[in-house]
């Protein structure tokens, strides 16, 4: 019985990982990552590792997500440019870009 639950959760994990990687919205990628951690914690409970499960749920699922969301807010203006074409995006920050590249990458 446990095997089937593990199989189902594992499939779900892989699907969530793929979704987190390929999702178009960064926010949903972060939420998916958080859920992925939570379901991994469930898996840890199933394989008799409650210590790991608690730690994964507290750190991996809760706290990591908090930091990710903070990073998302701090960079929120970049998100608008996330979906834009490369050309528009290049125009926006070409100046900033040049400042970092010249001289250091000779």
């Amino acid at each position: 019985m446990t095997t089937w639950i593990v199989l189902a959760v594992s499939l779900l994990l892989i699907l969530m990982a793929l979704a987190a990687i390929f999702s178009r919205s960064l926010a949903s990628a972060i939420i998916l990552l958080s859920t992925l951690s939570l379901f991994t914690a469930l898996l840890f409970v199933l394989v008799a590792a409650p210590d790991v499960a608690i730690t994964e749920a507290a750190i991996g699922s809760a706290l990591t997500t908090v930091v990710f969301v903070l990073a998302l807010y701090r960079t929120r203006n970049a998100l608008a440019a996330d979906g834009k074409s490369a050309k528009n995006a290049a125009d926006e920050s070409s100046v900033a870009l040049r400042s970092s590249s010249e001289g250091t990458n000779a």
């Binding site: 608690i54 507290a58 908090v66 701090r74 100046v95 400042s99 250091t104």
Partner: protein
């Protein structure tokens, strides 16, 4: 190009691992342990007095790893504080300082705060009896403090105090470990304290004390990390000068652009 390289790399790894996996990595249904786990399970009562074998390993058998792990968190908190000192405060002044999170969050936060702290302390102190211990307990306490930030009750955490707590907890860990030098074997991290009665709260020698130190350290470090990132730091840096090419920017002492050269 990037995608192609990625696919090639990962594909190669998949192929290689897949060829190994059936032969080596898949014992069909192991029924016994053939690792150091067995002797550790057998000796953990005598050596550490902890009913939770994972705790016994984390604190006693591999205590040096835990010291290193706490150091990693310490470094990470230090690094976040160093790097965040240059962040601009355009977002968070509006996000947390002015917004109190609304009535429900405030009331709920006030109600929950003592309970979360209590559960955190409980988890830390029962690390040798039940799942949990210093790390999850410390995270819970940090979460309670984060709720305070969210509800706007405490817009500025006392960073100096948190740093002092971090340092004291770290020194406490080392001090408890150094007690081992007084034992017969004279080795660091030996459990020389009396072990008490097995499977009761007052047992397992120094394990609850070490976990208390770890919990204190983790709580203060994680609070530092989250608080540093949420609080709006004073913007000390001059606005980014995008025109200046890097090679004329003198990389003088530290991160300064505005400071004069000696």
């Amino acid at each position: 190009m990037r995608k192609l390289a990625g696919i090639l790399l990962i594909g190669g790894l998949v192929f290689y691992m897949a060829s190994l996996v059936p032969a080596l990595f898949m014992p069909s249904a192991r029924t016994s342990l053939d690792s150091i786990g067995t002797p550790i399970i057998e000796s953990s009562e005598r050596v550490s007095g902890s009913a939770n074998v994972v705790t016994a390993i984390v604190v006693q058998y591999r205590g040096l790893d835990t010291l290193g792990e706490v150091t990693v968190l310490f470094l990470s908190a230090l690094g976040v504080a160093i790097l965040a000192s240059g962040l601009r405060d355009d977002v968070f002044s509006s996000m947390f300082a002015q917004d109190d999170g609304g009535f429900i969050l405030q009331a709920g936060g006030r109600f929950l705060f003592p309970f979360i702290i209590l559960i955190g302390v409980y988890i830390i102190l029962h690390g040798h009896l039940s799942p949990g211990g210093g790390f999850p307990g410390g995270v819970l306490i940090a979460t309670a403090l984060f709720i305070l930030i969210l509800t706007g009750e405490s817009s500025h955490m006392p960073h100096r105090l948190l740093n002092v707590l971090e340092g004291i907890a770290g020194l406490g860990f080392i001090g408890l470990g150094a007690l081992g030098f007084m034992g017969t074997e004279q080795s660091f991290l030996t459990n020389v304290l009396p072990k008490g009665e097995y499977m009761t709260l007052f047992s397992a020698g120094f394990i609850p004390f070490i976990y208390a130190m770890v919990g204190m350290k983790v709580a203060s470090e994680l609070t530092t990390v989250v608080a540093t990132l949420t609080e709006a730091p004073v913007n000390t840096e001059a606005p980014v000068n995008t025109e200046a090419p890097v090679n004329t920017e003198a990389p003088v002492h530290g991160s300064t652009k505005e400071k004069g050269r000696p």
